[in-house]
Symmetry: C2
Subunit: 322 residues, 2 copies
């Protein structure tokens, strides 16, 4: 049985108007009231959005996409696939780039609360937004931990890391550098590190550097890495995405290194445009079309008050140029 607004109000011991205000973050409310209403909503598995839509009489047919940077070809491609699948369902896509812009991301969440969009698909890196944990609205995340209440569609990050490790070992790398783009211990992407180190075992030397994957590395950051790579005789690099891998490939060739003969560099993502323009780059290919479809399936399950299924991981493949 689907719970009603009045059930929540009764259990929380407040008026229906108060519940509505909590849901829409409207008016001044005490933290105690907010907590009581949230507790009642949790207990009753109450889904406010369906109510809001049915009150409104019709749905907005808009879905918000929040990605850190659509100029990163992986997110361009994911946004492109999502836009096309949504269009075929009669939905339009509203796009937001959120890199380092917490305020912007909050505004898009407010659109959701105000029923201007029916749901949000995100892969934001702004992980510290409290707003998410207080929301019961239809949101789905790709490969990022957002909050306990937001389901995650994930690719097989562990296997991705493992395949990179196996590739570097098989090609004789002994002195390996991992450039890591994500230090959050709760996001699925950290599994890449686990798979990678498991594959390497203690057969090789491994050093790790962390980067802010919200922005592209500057020329001087690349110069510092190139210098380190040459000084330390690095012969295998796991770059955190294809863009980073190609930048390093260019810079190391300019510094006189032969790629791949002297140094193996592996990327991550495998977007169609990078595959088209850089057929010489070994990389982990994410299942972008499949990810788009699954994100939409999970989001619409939430919108329709069904249980979203997100227990599995989407399979990745390793692209090894011949």
């Amino acid at each position: 049985m689907v719970s009603k607004l009045s059930d929540v109000a009764e259990l929380a011991g407040v008026s229906v108007t108060t519940v509505s205000r909590v849901i829409n973050s409207y008016g001044s409310l005490s933290q105690k009231t907010i907590d009581k209403v949230h507790a009642a909503m949790r207990e009753l598995h109450y889904q406010p959005n369906a109510m809001a839509r049915s009150l409104q009489g019709k749905s907005s047919q808009f879905i918000g996409l929040i990605f850190p940077d659509i100029q990163n070809p992986f997110f361009t491609s994911l946004a492109n696939e999502i836009e096309q699948i949504l269009f075929d369902k009669g939905y339009k896509s509203i796009i937001a780039t959120s890199a380092n812009n917490v305020e912007k991301e909050k505004q898009y969440l407010e659109m959701l609360a105000a029923n201007q969009v029916e749901g949000i698909i995100t892969s934001s890196h702004n992980l510290d937004i409290d707003a998410y944990s207080n929301t019961y609205l239809p949101i789905v995340s790709y490969d990022r931990f957002i909050s306990d209440t937001v389901p995650i569609v994930r690719e097989d990050n562990y296997r991705g890391g493992q395949l990179i490790g196996e590739y570097l070992l098989k090609n004789g790398a002994k002195n390996i550098l991992m450039l890591s783009g994500d230090s959050s211990s709760q996001s699925p992407t950290t599994k890449r590190y686990e798979g990678f180190t498991a594959a390497l075992g203690d057969k090789v030397s491994l050093s790790i550097q962390e980067f802010n994957s919200n922005s592209w590395p500057t020329t001087s950051e690349i110069d510092v890495i190139v210098n380190d790579v040459i000084q330390q005789n690095i012969d295998g690099i796991y770059a955190y995405n294809d863009i980073m891998a190609i930048q390093l490939q260019n810079a190391l060739r300019k510094a006189g290194k032969r790629i791949p003969e002297d140094i193996r560099i592996v990327g991550y993502d495998g977007s169609p445009i990078v595959q088209l323009l850089h057929p010489d780059l070994p990389t982990v290919v994410q299942p972008i079309r499949q990810a788009a479809q699954r994100l939409i399936d999970v989001l619409f399950a939430e919108i329709n008050n069904q249980d979203p299924v997100v227990n599995d991981v989407l399979p990745i493949t390793f692209y090894n140029p011949k």
Copy 2:
């Protein structure tokens, strides 16, 4: 003086409701009625959108972006810039990829007529849509002729073509291939051809091939070009965009040609990501940030019933790798 709905109705000799139906393409109407209303709107320079918004009491704060393919880095970057400038104005961007999909484009135009979006920024290649010429709604185009009623923000296409011609001549090319992506005689991009041939004069041999720039060339299309280039001893290529240029560069290197020593290949667009990943590609750099700002200025002039200013061309630059 700004015309009112009733002025149009009076001049056309129909009711206010009929005018409203014509504007919103709603209900069954004879072609004769439609024509009469359009004639009256033209005569009075009537702008329906402002009226519709004032009736509605508030604006939607949504702008539609219609681009052929956001996976093309030029359009990715343009969409990204537009999204950020619009966000700072309190507007959200609805994105549509329209390549070869006339139906989709029509649906987005209908959103505009129905006031779900306040304006549309387009660079669509679907030039045969009648719907545009019957509309008086706020639309602006980037570098494409859409209809007589849609203003065009354009870059200096003539100068772009000219600089490519000068570069190829200066580097000793004598047997040149131009790969052209646009055969429409009404779009500003055809000026590239004029500038290019003017720069070349009759000093060299020039052959031209046309492509559908709505989709990326297939591997077999690239193979055919590579074969022609080798058979005909081509030593200079003007590719219609950077993607095509990089694909040819890769394929010709694989076929044993030295680039740029044996064959000079020049691209067009110069998006930030291509500049980052392919610093060795000579190309015409379009002023993407400036184009985004101008498109928005022109669109908001239309929305606010001011005269949009689009007489000038935005300056391009030539990137010559050292």
